[in-house]
């Protein structure tokens, strides 16, 4: 892996934090900006050789889990938008800008909702590893997007029942269906008419007509190759 474990672009991050905190109450913003200001003058810690991401427990752990998935998706789309494949059409580009915007909004929303409970609220941000994808062609990019979006849909479907708070559940459900819309769209681009094909929506049996659901531990295993750190999801609720 050639990319650094953690991004050290603290300047960019601090700007994001500033604009983010503008929307928070004045008291909170003041005290937190002081902290953010401290970060400005502090050199980032050396990247640890073995890092772990601890998602935590309860609803906060599940929100951190969703936050990680949205960070992953946002980073993927940003990478594509930064260097479109040569055979991307104007329509492809417009769609990927939309997809990028949605995922970045999801990411920033979770960052806001979690506040200091965010697993990365200490200031480090992850540089994801997409080297297992072939992102130089339209086909490769859409196939990668299909993998990530289908995983996201299955993740939300499998995590929702673990949430204790109704308001949190509703928020995740508001995002979950948008992920399903993304999945349907990118699947149709890979293979027309595959928006809800039998590899994601069971054709027969007890689960006929149901989308895929995966537990957090199953999903963590699936995304491990993109994350340059050990994801500790063992404290998440399991039932």
């Amino acid at each position: 892996m050639s990319e650094p474990l953690f991004s050290d672009s603290f300047l960019a991050r601090t700007l994001r934090r500033r604009s983010f905190f503008r929307v928070v109450g004045a008291t909170v913003a003041t005290s937190t900006l002081l902290l953010a200001g401290c970060n400005d003058n502090t050199n980032p810690d050396p990247a640890p050789t073995t890092a772990s991401l601890t998602l935590g427990s309860g609803d906060n752990g599940l929100l951190n889990y969703a936050y990680l998935l949205e960070q992953l998706e946002a980073a993927f789309y940003q990478k594509v938008v930064d260097a479109f494949p040569a055979d991307f059409t104007a329509e492809d580009k417009a769609a990927f800008v939309d997809l990028r915007d949605h995922e970045v909004i999801h990411r920033e929303f979770f960052r806001y909702a979690l506040g200091t409970n965010a697993y990365d609220s200490g200031g480090t941000s992850i540089t994801f590893d997409f080297s297992s994808f072939a992102l130089t062609t339209r086909a490769g990019v859409y196939a990668a997007a299909r993998t990530l979006e289908d995983t996201g849909v299955a993740a939300y479907n499998g995590a929702a029942k673990l949430i204790a708070d109704t308001t949190t559940l509703r928020l995740l459900a508001k995002i979950a269906s948008v992920e399903a819309r993304h999945a349907a769209f990118v699947r149709d681009q890979v293979q027309p008419g595959s928006f809800a094909a039998s590899d994601v929506v069971a054709d027969s049996g007890d689960a006929a007509g149901l989308d895929t659901a995966k537990t957090p531990l199953e999903v963590v295993e699936l995304i491990a190759k993109f994350v340059p750190a050990t994801i500790v999801a063992t404290s998440l609720p399991t039932s």
Partner: protein, 269 residues
């Protein structure tokens, strides 16, 4: 279920949790008695009543009612697509393939929900039909109705998720099943919207449906909403357009909104 662990976890996110109960002493005394009697089977009901008291939630709509409501919508969708196939205007090839696949899923949802209501000793809804007089004469309008039904279905399932927390059928979480249907409806909605040359998601500007489908994207929380959990999401991060902020979240419709005469209520025979 380990009630002490649950309370412990709750206290991590809500420091005041114990104060919400009648009194700490009463809770643990009752728990102690329950455990002594070995009445483990009574524990979930006790816990539910405890938490309802602590957090002041009103009694949720009964699970059977929620399932029959979902079943009503699935029957409506199933009949709509049957009428669409029977009308014979869906172009051969990809459009027919898509409509047939969606119909197949709606039929599977009808069967699943019917079987579940029966298993829970309820009486499943039957005989819900799409109003013949409202069925559009041309294919383009049929697709617009399909979009309205699917986008409404997504919002309807989302609106009931909270009423299914903890609801089980045997070992199956009904909430998870409902969410697994919910995302299928969203896949359908995205594809139908694409067939109509629309974005697969719902931007703030979306109102492009013919009468009488105007209210589809309205409601107590409209689809052009950009406020989530008390924050204007257009102002998060680098700042985002209202279209993106609205499209990134699908909104909830209540049962009353879905079944009123301007939405599904007006389309049922």
């Amino acid at each position: 279920m380990n009630i002490l662990r649950i309370i412990e976890q709750l206290s991590e996110v809500d420091a005041d949790v114990l104060g919400r109960f009648d009194s700490r002493r009463t809770v643990f005394k009752t728990l102690g008695n329950t455990a002594k009697m070995g009445a483990l089977a009574a524990a979930p009901a006790f816990v539910a009543s405890l938490f309802q008291k602590a957090y002041g939630q009103t009694t949720s709509t009964s699970v059977i009612d929620v399932l029959n409501y979902a079943l009503t919508l699935e029957l409506l969708e199933e009949d709509f697509y049957k009428k669409m196939v029977a009308a014979g205007q869906v172009p051969a090839g990809a459009p027919q393939g898509a409509i047939n696949l969606i119909l197949k899923h709606e039929s599977a949802h009808v069967k699943l929900l019917t079987d579940t209501v029966t298993a829970l000793k309820g009486t499943p809804k039957t005989g819900v039909k799409f109003k013949s007089s409202a069925f559009p004469a041309d294919y383009a309008t049929q697709l617009a109705y399909a979009q309205a039904l699917e986008d409404t279905g997504v919002r309807a399932y989302k609106g009931q998720a909270g009423n299914l927390i903890g609801a089980m059928a045997g070992t199956t979480s009904l909430l998870q099943v409902a969410l697994q249907i919910h995302s299928v409806e969203a896949r359908h909605a995205a594809h139908i919207r694409t067939m109509r040359m629309q974005a697969p998601w719902i931007p703030a500007a979306d109102s492009n449906l013919p009468a009488p489908l105007g209210p589809v994207y309205t409601g107590a929380t409209r689809e052009d909403n950009v406020m989530q959990a008390g924050v204007d999401v257009t102002k998060l991060g680098a700042g985002y357009s209202a279209n993106d902020a609205a499209a990134a979240f699908d909104e909830i419709l209540t049962m009353a909104e879905v079944t009123d005469s301007s939405r599904a209520g007006g389309l049922i025979q």
